[in-house]
Amino acid sequence: MWWDVTDPQRADDSIGAKDDIEMRLGANLVHLPIVRSVAVNIAMRADFDIDAISDLELAVDESCSSLITHAAPGSVLTCRFTIGADEIVFTATVNSPAPSTPSTTTFGWRVLSTLTDNVEAWAEPGTDSHHRIHLELTKLRPVVPG
């Protein structure tokens, strides 16, 4: 199934950089340990420090949980990791009946913005009168003094 991606900025559905890692899972909380462990593995291999590794894991858990709660029944959770020299960007996407993105004034948002360096959420029209809800987290490699 192809999604109608209308935002040209976000339309690059190819695995552009060869290092990108994308997973598709049922939008169900039971799959979260898999996503978490991939997140940990990626951050460890990038040799992020152990605080950053754990923060990314917690943030991935929080963001996916939040999206799954809003996902249409039976829909797919898409998780994508883009690994740069000094950052890991995690984007999670679900189909939702409502176009609303997670509110930036909730405790969950506070958690995400504390654990990562940047959080963005956006919605776009999808198929079958559904909406595509995206959450994107950026975790920078901590600067080592000296």
Binding site: S37, V40, N41, M44, D47, F48, D49, I50, D51, A52, I53, S54, D55, E57, L58, D61, E62, S65, T69, S103, T105, T106, F107, G108, R110, V111, T114, P142, V144, P145
Partner: protein, 249 residues
Amino acid sequence: MPLFDELAAMDSDDPRHTEIRDKLVTGHLPLAEHIAQRFSGRGAPKEDLVQVATVGLINAVDRFEPAQGNDFLSYAVPTVMGEVRRHFRDASWSMRVPRRLKELHLAVAGASTKLAQQLGRAPTPGEIAAHLEITKDEVYQGLEAGQAYHAMSLDEPVTNDGDGMPLGESIGQDDSGLEGVENHEALEPLIKELPERERRILALRFFYNMTQTQIAERVGISQMHVSRLLSRTLSRLREDLVQESDQQP
């Protein structure tokens, strides 16, 4: 204890600081071994106990304040015992984990604590590997093995370990720090129900913006333990919030 006075008077950047600290820790190792011995025969391997007791000893050396007039031993014994008790309380493995992985996990946790103290920040897996002279893959295995640690019952009362929580370091109290959070009315009672230590760690991370390594040092547990507790607390709050919103008409 002249060495302790010397250590207390010294800047932590002083190269002799590490030297004296090492000397104090090494000199008191028999104490850690003795306490570990007292807890043997309860199913935990002796080496693990010695390792845990040694972590307690290092904490005791770092936190002891000679100016307060107490002698080191009367400070160190309860600190080390507390560490070993916590080990029994928190560190049961929820599934059969090969012994080698448990050892790896403990070694990685110990090295993380030590390196964090030396570096003043969280170490990377690469640094831990170099320190332990093992491969990075083994560090990954050691970190991952921690996932199998049994999450102790959330309802278990957490005893106050004697380090009283400074005022304002908790949330869900009068000065909740939750103003401006949209769902704070639903959240506040849930946070109040958390065990004291979990509530404090949550506050230090999300309201005081301390790193996990800083929290570990403040609370006196390993960073990996802080990580596990945060993970469990966040998932508990999420579940409770979902239940609550389901109950609303």
